[in-house]
């Protein structure tokens, strides 16, 4: 969808929908929100709805960054400690590596 052809109210509605959707454990929706509405929030000359769009974009950005931090921490911990955890790590894994611990 090309938002350059869409009216400002619809832009606001879209941005808000995406922001609310991201609360359902969907951080990638927030990331898309940020990239999609970045121009409209910060680079385009001011229009009435821009303040709200800016708020949604910033909140989505914060949410996406927090999620990224949590996920990368978990991935790093699991990848480094999986071999030490033994049986518990096996029960957590879908694919257990072959030929090594």
């Amino acid at each position: 969808m090309d938002i350059s052809k869409v009216s400002n109210e619809q832009k606001l509605k879209l941005c808000r929908t995406y922001f609310l959707a991201g609360w359902a454990f969907l951080p990638f929706v927030w990331t898309i929100n940020v990239f999609w509405f970045f121009n409209d929030a910060f680079r385009v000359p001011p229009f009435p709805e821009q303040a709200k769009i800016k708020r949604f974009v910033i909140l989505s950005l914060i949410g996406a960054v927090i999620w990224a931090a949590i996920l990368s921490t978990w991935v790093i911990i699991f990848q480094t400690k999986r071999a030490e955890w033994g049986a518990m790590a096996d029960y957590m894994s879908f694919i257990i590596p072959i030929g090594k611990a």
Binding site: A87, F94, I96, G99
Partner: protein, 710 residues
């Protein structure tokens, strides 16, 4: 005319293509030469993994021939083009050298090849000096073995053992016995590697790639847990327990007990306390470091053949009806499988006996327990037969009497039996019984260790000095006198030595059970021993195996049966032949025609006369699978039962090719990247000047009209 020319050209192109296509398929064969050999693979126990494995997609190493110990220095002191794959002759394949490769060669050694050629080898055993030291009788409150001195190898049961079978190697090891393959490798090494060692990192080197990736890892506990773990993405089998069958047979058929409840193993099965047995046992398996090569001639086959000879001789010495015996005792022969791996067969047998599960209820015979066994005679290793030690844990009258009778009966056989009381018990199946009950009446016949190739690939017919005499006209189970025997075999041959040992034991048992000598004349037949040794050491398509099999069954393969216990899915031919041998040697011939000679225990076999005969057999199998795999939540670290498993693998292969040097690879990659960049630049330049270069072309975006709506 043009049509003709064009069709001719097309024909020419097609034929050229076909010619080149045939040539091009052989280019792959020109690059890679496959190498066949026996691989070392991974086995795991409750706490450790042992053996070798390659990396997942193959381990590659440049060949380097080792001829003296100093050649190892080149590999371990910063070699110019790692990784390398040393080719080691057997006399340098020692614990010291291989452990050095493991510890110091982590980055420079990726594979090891053991090149056949036994000329300079004086000893080659990779079993521990104290085999099965963590199972069997242990010192109280510790897991040290009570029966073997681990600190003093000279007094141990395997003095020449290096223990490499129980080490874990990060690289694959391949044993190449075929001389042609070895020459292929050596000539490739001479042609490409064996000069200008400083320049190794700038030229192509002759290398091998070994694919021996082992799926199981860490320990049996982990790999069995992962195998049993069900998840949606399908299951992978990481390892299989070592599993096989024990074979047992009785001299006299036992009574049928129809009220034995099928499948129930508890007190409702009544054992008959008055039924007494003498248990005679040995082991049927052996072990080695490399896949499919394990003959075990001296370490287990001599004991096995001795037991077979005793069985055949006793069948003829003792009366066919047990009511004529002075002591109403049956003789139970059991041949255990898996004894090299912490007594798999005997531990399971003892476990079954404790649970009233031997024989199983489906055989409709009363269970046998420890109380039914009067004496256990366990035949260990008989490396030399002039002095046989009779080991027993406690000094008992029964043991002393047996030794006395043995010595009195072996006057003509040049064997001296010596009673040996105490903890100095060899690593044989009796340890599983003594572990449960120290007063169990077990005696073990074992001689002083002389085998420098215990549990190795070189424990073969040459180690026994065995030659097959192949006396074809004779009836090989008939008892013959010493004079006749000496006409067929020299007195120092291994056939005569085993015959001496088995006859003396058979005479002693006859004396004990019958209170007099045997009524028939003659001694154990060395012809049977000759046939047995030939079948198990040289080829399974032998006369004896054909005679004991059902009529018109397929002949055995032209190589000896594999006697390593392996896993459930392997052919298990050693236990199959043992079953048939016990069936033949201990059965009575009955006069029943072929149609009525069924079901078991009646069996119709080809027989030595070749016309087929019906026999009433007394043999059967029992499972040889460690109880550790049957008990829920077994504590894998407890060491109570054998926990050995074998890792699974997808393929085992090896090939030889020329590996380009690192410089060559970098140059190729750089050229590729440069070409890529140049092509991008060229495309950009061309496309930005496309109006100038291509006349009449309009800009491509003009072709499309602007979109009117999304």
């Amino acid at each position: 005319m043009y049509l003709g020319l064009i069709s001719l050209l097309i024909l020419l192109a097609i034929s050229l293509n076909i010619a080149i296509a045939v040539e091009s398929r052989r280019v792959h064969d020109k690059i890679y030469t496959s190498i066949s050999g026996a691989s070392c693979f991974r086995r795991l126990n409750g706490t450790h993994q042992t053996g070798c494995s390659s990396s997942q997609y193959g381990s590659t190493g440049a060949l380097h021939l080792i001829q003296v110990v100093e050649d190892f220095e080149f590999l371990l002191r910063n070699p110019p083009a790692p990784p390398y794959a040393p080719m080691i002759p057997p006399h340098l394949f020692t614990r010291e050298n291989i452990m050095r490769l493991k510890e110091q060669g982590t980055s420079s050694i990726s594979a090891v090849l053991l090149i056949g050629g036994k000329e300079k080898v004086t000893q080659f055993s990779h079993e521990l000096t104290c085999p099965n030291r963590y199972s069997g009788l242990l010192l109280s409150e510790s897991n040290e073995t009570a029966t073997c001195d681990t600190r003093n190898p000279e007094n141990a049961w395997n003095p020449w053992g290096s223990g490499l079978l129980h080490e874990d190697f990060p690289f694959p090891i391949l044993y190449i016995s075929d001389e042609d393959e070895v020459n292929k490798l050596k000539s490739c090494f001479e042609k490409f590697n064996n000069y200008d060692y400083e320049g190794h990192n700038t030229r192509s080197l002759c290398s091998v790639e070994l694919q021996q990736f082992m799926v199981g890892a860490v320990s049996s506990e982990v790999c069995i847990r992962r195998t049993n773990f069900l998840n949606n993405l399908g299951s992978t089998k990481y390892c299989d327990p070592l599993e096989g069958s024990n074979v047992y047979a009785t001299l006299y058929p036992r009574n049928i007990q129809p009220n034995a409840v099928n499948g129930q193993a508890n007190e409702t099965n009544i054992t008959d306390e008055k039924e007494k047995f003498i248990l005679i046992t040995c082991r049927m398996d052996t072990a080695s470091m490399f896949d499919n090569i394990a003959l075990g001639a001296m370490d287990s086959l001599t004991g096995y053949v001795t037991l077979m000879s005793i069985a055949s001789t006793l069948k003829q010495y003792l009366p066919s009806n047990s009511s004529n015996l002075t002591k109403k005792t049956n003789i139970l022969f059991v041949i255990f499988n898996g004894e090299s791996y912490d007594y798999i067969g005997s531990q399971r047998f003892v476990f079954d006996m404790e649970n009233f599960d031997f024989p199983s209820a489906s055989t409709q015979r009363a269970p046998i327990t420890f109380e039914n066994i009067e004496l256990m005679i366990d035949i260990g290793v008989l490396d030399e037969i002039s002095t046989i030690n009779v080991h027993t844990l406690n000094k008992t009258d029964k043991a002393e009497e047996f030794v006395r009778v043995l010595n009195s009966q072996s006057q003509n056989f040049n064997i001296n039996y010596q009673l040996n009381v105490g903890n100095n018990i060899p690593p044989t199946s009796a340890q599983s019984f003594l572990r449960k009950m120290k007063t169990f009446p077990a005696i073990i016949l074992n001689s002083k260790p002389q085998n420098k190739y215990y549990h190795s690939i070189y424990d073969n017919a040459a180690n026994l000095n065995f030659t097959y005499y192949n006396h074809t006209e004779q009836n090989y189970t008939k008892l013959i006198s010493t004079e006749e025997a000496l006409q067929l075999f020299p007195a120092e041959s291994v056939q005569m030595k085993i015959r001496n040992a088995s006859t003396s034991v058979a005479l002693a048992l006859t004396q004990i059970l019958f209170n007099q000598g045997p009524k028939v004349k003659g001694y154990a037949s060395p012809l049977l021993i000759d046939e047995l040794l030939h079948c198990f050491l040289e080829a399974a398509d032998c006369r004896l195996f054909k005679d004991i099999s059902p009529v018109n069954s397929l002949p055995g393969p032209p190589f000896p049966p594999m006697r390593y216990i392996s896993v459930l899915m392997s052919p298990q031919d050693a236990s199959g032949w043992t079953y048939r041998l016990m069936g033949f040697l201990l059965s009575d011939e009955v006069d029943t025609p072929e149609e009525k000679c069924a079901p078991l225990p009646l069996q119709w076999i080809a027989g030595p006369k070749g016309v087929g005969e019906c026999r009433h057999t007394t043999n059967n199998y029992t499972y040889a699978l460690s109880p550790a795999f049957l008990i829920d939540n077994y504590d894998w670290k407890s060491g109570e039962y054998s926990t050995w498993t074998e890792s699974t693998w997808t393929k085992l292969s090896a090939r030889m090719f020329l590996r380009p040097s690192r410089v060559h690879e970098i140059v190729t990659l750089s050229i590729g990247i440069v070409v890529l960049i140049i092509s991008f630049c060229l495309m950009y330049i061309i496309s930005s000047r496309s109006e100038v270069l291509f006349e009449g072309a309009t800009s491509s975006s003009d072709a499309l009209s602007a979109p009117t709506a999304c």
